[in-house]
Symmetry: C2
Subunit: 410 residues, 2 copies
Amino acid sequence: MALIVLKFGGTSVGDTCRIERAAGKIAQEVKRGNQVAVIVSAMSGVTNQLVEYCNDISSTHDAREYDAVVSSGEQVTAGLMAIALQKLDIDARSWLGWQVPILCSDVHGKARIEDIDSSKMLEHLQGGQVAVLAGFQGVTANNRIATLGRGGSDTTAVALAAALGAERCDIYTDVDGVYTTDPRIVKSAQKIDKISYEEMLELASLGTKVLQTRSVEMAYKRDIPLQVLSSFEDTIGSDLPGTLVTREEDIMEKHVVNGVAYEKNTAKVTLLDVPDIPGVAAEIFGPLTGGNVNVDMIVQNVAPDGKMTDMTFTVPEEELDMAIECVKKNTKLKDVEILSDKNVVKISVVGIGMVSHTGVAQTMFKALADKGINIQVIATSEIKISVIIEKEYLELAVRALHTAYGLDAV
Amino acid sequence: MALIVLKFGGTSVGDTCRIERAAGKIAQEVKRGNQVAVIVSAMSGVTNQLVEYCNDISSTHDAREYDAVVSSGEQVTAGLMAIALQKLDIDARSWLGWQVPILCSDVHGKARIEDIDSSKMLEHLQGGQVAVLAGFQGVTANNRIATLGRGGSDTTAVALAAALGAERCDIYTDVDGVYTTDPRIVKSAQKIDKISYEEMLELASLGTKVLQTRSVEMAYKRDIPLQVLSSFEDTIGSDLPGTLVTREEDIMEKHVVNGVAYEKNTAKVTLLDVPDIPGVAAEIFGPLTGGNVNVDMIVQNVAPDGKMTDMTFTVPEEELDMAIECVKKNTKLKDVEILSDKNVVKISVVGIGMVSHTGVAQTMFKALADKGINIQVIATSEIKISVIIEKEYLELAVRALHTAYGLDAV
């Protein structure tokens, strides 16, 4: 008997029929003798509707009230899922964030889970009851509801799995796993059977939407095997039903590059003639962080004359105006010229095998050059290479790289 | 400066525009220097949708889960109303039942408020913040959400007004007050400016939908003036903007009959040949109460032969099958013959003046007889007379009685 955590995303609980179908999957796990905790998202479309209500009234709404409003979506699904399970003669009850409690920070709309007191829930689980937890939400020290940001139910699932000491955490979604790239762009994209936490972390933060970055980070830290599964296929009991995200040492066959990811929501800012003196980077990026701008890539060249240099960084498109504002307000940067460009996209290749292989970057540069695609910015890490290119080359670049790294299905 | 409680029903907060309009009314009260607590219902249609989801999955759903699901409707409105008030530069925050907390019994779906710890909310009110409370919900000793039954937001409003020691409780709705009868049936029905708690209590329990019975009962007990107002008209500051429900001694002009009410949702059960011995009524109605059947009128005639009698009672239509089941299961009543009839309606006249006037019943009987309407059952109390008649005479009877008691507007 194992304790497992299952998470069902919005499309998997999109209407009452789908909730009943998901309940059927949970029932199978219960019948296999497992103790089961379930995390549910809001029914698809519901969160968007609730966000729209808030924006209809005021685009600068209080994040605490926004959280009270949008967290109700998961509350509804949790109650309905408990009813669906009871209909299958399975003892079940719903839990809301404040009932567990799931304590989180008071950064409303983007809160972080700080502590889960799972003792009460564990009692119920040990009594044979399925716990259905509303995802995406917690309660602050002030007794207000806070939400974890888009995709936060994944994080709830992993955090609960960690708190309960679960054997694994299954993420049910509308795709059957993580692919080598977006199958809508590359038809020959392949499902990845096993992937390391590190690679998944890169892919998630580089734009692959299957798992929320923070959930992978948490699973990595707490060493919880994550499985991505389709809620629309009957895969329980099969050998490799989806994609297993696990430790590097548990993966036998290591590809040099395991995936090609892209992020459309990116904008490029270049600062010209920045003084090349110690502390200038802190001077630039400190205020940006303070202004809640998420800076992604940062590239600085060696100053040719040893005095002035250029600095380029990327931010999400919707934060571009705020980022420029922050730089302009900074009196120490008053002579700096600012260029910005929204017409860009970030393409990345990710693979744990890169560490021990040479020429991986060269393959990328050559593949892009062969298609006449100009690389604007390059940034590398141990297991990924990212480039910024003009937006219209997105699909062409992804296909070229998928082929160049031998990822096309035969 | 006064502390007042305002309640907005479902149609008054039916969409974001209406929420903003209601926020405007609240803002006016704040600008007059009042401390304001607001109770909101779910946006109209939302509760029905949520109930439908529960029933879609299982008609015999767990009431605790039903409560978790349906209570979310008020949660959404509370958050949105706080946002709408903040947009008008009014300090406001939402409160959910568990945050106050509003402690209630664990009879899920029909819970009763047991205690409101208003100390925290009072602090916020005294700091000049408007409290926006989600109606219809509380939290049980087990830390589960419970709802108060349909129309429960009225009860939340009055209970909060009592807990806060509020000066008055205004109920904003889609009509501008309580009428002498349903204006859809009698065009010359008149708005009642002032009505006593006792009369309102009778009218509410006799089918007048403007206020929930329990809320009137609570206002009566705690001596809180209730005002019914239209949220669609600008009446703030006017003399008698709606209907004021208050103590009898505060009402100068007392009508013999103040209102004509009807209840369509009623069914009649007659038990023939019931032994006329002590304890038989308890024998019949004990199991009905145990089976959660709400028995309304009960009429027993004198046994002509001193041995056997007939007993008639009424129940809500949807509880008729359950009521018959209860009687049949009772082994001590096995020789009793059961007749039932759904094709009936209850018509009542209510007036505090009845106590000191004679001939009030006679006026009713004569008015109905003049129209050829047969009276099947009669029940009277100090301030009301109710009769059961055939359903198709409903409108005819209401109009005849409205005229007979001189209630038609001139």
